[in-house]
């Protein structure tokens, strides 16, 4: 520690709350989304890999999955992008009341979607231990379902924090990133919904 130091940069005036890719959490969120997305991608790859082992899909003796309720669920899922978008907007405005409101709405949506997911499982009309067809159907649903449940816990927890707890400035970028992650959740559901419920009718 002998070297002379000269100050050439002063960062005092830099903001301490930033949104989007300027903040750390945005990167972390998408980091996890990429890893989880890779897992989903590989599960989907597994689906098509195993598909080759069956002459017909679903295999003979298995009923088609019900598509009606899951498709409605998918529509609800898409619709929840609106509260997620509104949450992001209000968080960027640092509007605590609005953010709280949208967090509560998103919490309700998350709970509803958890319920919808239960129906989705019934709509498969197959159990995981009957054949590889059932196994991959359940895993695709279950894997995305576990992401949904974890995210639901996060949304609800954040909502509780916004209602009850000490809300700190850094919670606004957090809330914003919840919205980002929600987009990932919805986006990743689309291919899964398609190959699980619509796919067996096509291939």
């Amino acid at each position: 520690m002998t070297k002379r130091e000269r100050v050439t940069v002063d960062v005092t005036e830099l903001p301490t709350i930033v949104f989007g890719s300027r903040g750390l959490l945005w990167w972390g969120t998408w980091g996890f989304a990429v890893a989880e997305g890779m897992t989903l991608f590989l599960s989907i790859a597994t689906y098509f890999y195993l598909r080759r082992n069956f002459q017909t899909y679903p295999p003979l003796g298995y009923p088609q999955p019900d598509w009606f309720a899951p498709t409605i669920g998918m529509a609800i899922f898409l619709a929840t992008c609106i509260p997620a978008y509104m949450l992001k907007k209000s968080a960027v405005r640092l509007d605590k009341d609005a953010a709280t409101r949208w967090l509560v709405i998103l919490s309700v949506c998350a709970l509803v979607l958890c319920g919808v997911r239960t129906i989705d499982f019934y709509a498969l009309r197959v159990l995981w231990m009957t054949s590889a067809y059932g196994s991959i159907q359940w895993v695709l649903l279950g894997f995305h379902g576990s992401l949904l449940v974890i995210e639901a816990a996060e949304v609800i927890g954040t909502a509780v924090l916004f209602i009850k707890g000490p809300v700190l400035p850094r919670h606004f970028p957090d809330a914003c990133d919840i919205g980002n992650y929600w987009y990932f959740l919805v986006l990743s559901w689309l291919p899964i919904w398609f190959i699980v419920y619509i796919g067996p009718r096509i291939w």
Partner: protein, 647 residues
């Protein structure tokens, strides 16, 4: 007491004691056990990580020694077949999942923040959580091993051997859950590294200026993000097959055993490079210090790293040549397997050029680098040989393969790692390792290594299969095996020499000072060992060799808070200052979360109740982790830039 604010252009006064004290207060951890379990300091955790991984290296080494003891003569009855199965599986699993990948990430988590000139990794609590989970996962494997429930299905756990029908009991479950632990650990580590490298670099350290080790860790982290999910998914399928009766690997019900091999090697081959790339990064970063010149061909090196990373995902099938894949696919994967020698060769020639054009100084780290180049080239050449299908079919599952990948992994990763131990030991502990013992260490290792593994090439040609616990005298494999076992003894003595060196040097080694090797990277710009906040004033970087390019004066930044933990965020490409972000305090919740997840994974082997119980525990830990403490509220108040009603 805060120091008077510095302004641009001012020279920092020599007496910064008060400022140091203040920073120590803000960034330091509590003393005692509580401080130890709650700390989120990347160096504390990195040290632990390295030590824990090294202990696993020793355990794996003991297992290797046991195998060599058993194989030292024909029809030896030292270890029975059942135990032998567990031991070779434990050896492979330990070395790959509990030593090689973690220790590389651990080095990254320790040194990357220092090398890029920041105060901590991006998500310090996640970092602590990662370590605890690693410790729990590794301990779980060994507790199970001592309970006779160690995995016995090989480190790549091929189905159907590892499946529910032929892998009775809980042994393969132990393997599958260990994998689940380690892949989570690896992925969180990778995310921390990526974000740290992209967002927390020192001002002026644009992407084309970061040390090659940091490049290597960045590339590795990306590889982890794409490779680890494959083994995670596969081990999840395996666990589901074993625990709830899914049919992923049951051909009778539409499953497929090759699915396992594809998914495992889609991870498994990149895994080799996940271990090897950081090692090359270590070499490229150490080399300038011992050749007195910047590494030759920086852009070529970086491009080689990146192209290896891409190609690593395109050659997994060469592990599966014996499965009867279509000829066209075999040809393709032969081509890619041969092709990856090109970027690897580029790196080797860059190193040679660096040494050739520099003024080499053969200190112990340099010896290990030279050893690395020699051994890795041998391993690389045999690698190109087995990339060819007919040759591979001949030596598949023989000791030739064992020889090949030990040359690659021991030569390619362990040698640089030992060099790195000698090189960075002074930075971490403040004391130099003994050079005299170090030379013993190196030569014993080098000789032992060749003695152990070179004969295995011949054993492979003679047809000795892997994973047999004994062989008949009439095979004639006895003498070479004995030679190999003696070599293992030499390696063991080398590792003991290293341990002696560590113990001796920790007590009475030469005091290192900030920069004993006169090296060029930023970690040498701070004290040895570094303070909890790493740098009193965050450095500003002028060139690729930060310390060599700065001249007499070091340029620094001011303006990050001294009242609370705060890191400076810069732009991802050019590293221009962008924002200041508050940094979390120490917390016990990462440990609690790791315990909850540990309970979840371990009990999942025995009962589906694990899900609700572990889930509830994890939820509690999650709430504790995220809920702001009074300390958080306090430190946030010191930030006057923003208020809730603001905007």
């Amino acid at each position: 007491m805060t120091a008077p604010p510095l302004v641009i252009g001012e020279t920092v006064p020599v007496d910064v004691g008060a400022e140091r004290e203040q920073m120590e207060r803000v960034w330091g951890s509590k003393r005692g056990l509580w401080g130890w379990i709650t700390t989120t300091n990347h160096k504390e955790i990195g040290k632990r990580y390295i030590t824990t991984a090294f202990i696993f290296f020793l355990l794996g080494g003991i297992e290797a020694a046991m195998m060599r003891a058993q194989l030292s003569r024909p029809e030896n009855s030292l270890i029975g077949p059942d135990k032998y199965n567990q031991i070779f599986t434990m050896h492979g699993t330990t070395m790959m999942f509990l030593f090689a990948v973690p220790i590389m990430e651990a080095l990254g988590l320790y040194f990357v923040p220092l090398m890029v000139g920041t105060r901590n990794v991006a998500f310090p609590r996640l970092n602590a959580f990662g370590y605890w989970l690693f410790l729990i996962g590794g301990s779980f494997l060994y507790v199970q091993f001592f309970l006779n429930t160690g995995p016995d299905v090989g480190w790549f756990a091929y189905v159907p051997l590892s499946g529910p029908a032929f892998g009775p009991g809980k042994r393969a479950d132990t393997w599958a859950q260990t994998i689940t632990f380690t892949e989570i650990v690896a992925i969180v580590g990778a995310i921390e590294l990526i974000v740290t490298v992209f967002k927390q670099r020192a001002v002026g350290m644009s992407l084309n200026r970061i040390p090659i080790f940091v490049w290597a860790m960045l590339v590795t982290a990306f590889m982890i993000m794409f490779a680890m999910p494959a083994v995670a998914t596969a081990s999840m399928y395996l666990a589901l097959d074993r625990l709830v009766g899914t049919h992923f690997f049951n051909p009778a019900e539409g499953g497929d055993v090759l699915l396992w091999q594809h998914m495992f090697w889609f991870f498994g081959h990149p895994e080799v490079y996940i271990i090897f790339l950081p090692a090359t990064g270590l070499v490229s970063t150490m080399l300038p210090a011992f050749t007195r010149r910047p590494v030759f061909g920086y852009p070529a090196m970086v491009l080689a790293l990146i192209s290896v990373a891409f190609m690593a995902f395109g050659l997994w099938v060469h592990h599966m040549f014996a499965t009867g894949i279509p000829q066209l696919a075999a040809s393709f994967f032969t081509a890619t397997s041969t092709m990856i020698a090109i970027p690897t060769g580029v790196q080797i020639f860059c190193w040679l050029a660096t040494i050739w054009s520099g003024r080499p100084r053969f200190a112990t780290p340099m010896l290990f680098i030279m050893g690395f180049i020699f051994l890795f080239v041998i391993g690389g050449v045999t690698g190109v040989m087995i990339a060819s299908v007919p040759f591979d079919l001949q030596v598949h599952d023989t000791f030739f393969i064992v020889a090949h990948f030990h040359y690659v992994l021991v030569g390619g990763a362990v040698f640089p790692l030992f060099g790195a131990f000698y090189y960075w030991f002074p930075k971490v502990t403040g004391r130099m390792l003994s050079e005299r013992i170090g030379k013993w260490n190196f030569w014993l290792f080098f000789i032992g290594m060749n003695m152990t593994f070179f004969p295995m090439h011949w054993l492979g040609f003679y047809g000795m299969p892997r994973r047999v616990y004994t062989y008949l005298a009439s095979t004639g494999w006895g003498p070479l095996n004995l030679l190999s076992s003696i070599g293992a003894l030499v390696i063991a003595s080398s590792v003991i020499t290293f341990l002696v060196n560590v113990v001796v040097s920790l007590r009475g080694g030469a005091v290192a000072g900030d920069n004993p090797w006169d090296a060029d990277t930023l970690e040498w710009a701070t004290t040895s060992p570094p303070p909890p906040y790493n740098f009193l004033h965050l450095p500003v970087v002028q060139g690729r060799s930060a310390l060599w390019d700065e001249g007499d004066e070091r340029q620094v930044t001011v303006g990050t808070s001294t009242e609370r933990r705060e890191v400076l965020l810069t732009t991802p490409l050019d590293a221009q200052p962008d924002s200041r972000e508050s940094h979390p305090h120490d917390s016990v919740w990462p440990l609690a979360m790791a315990l909850a997840i540990g309970v979840l994974f371990i009990t999942a082997i025995f009962t589906p109740l694990a899900l609700p119980i572990g889930g509830a525990l994890a939820l509690i830990a999650f709430a504790g982790w995220a809920w702001p403490t009074s300390q958080d509220v306090e430190s946030e108040k010191s930030d006057e830039k923003i208020s809730l009603e603001g905007a």
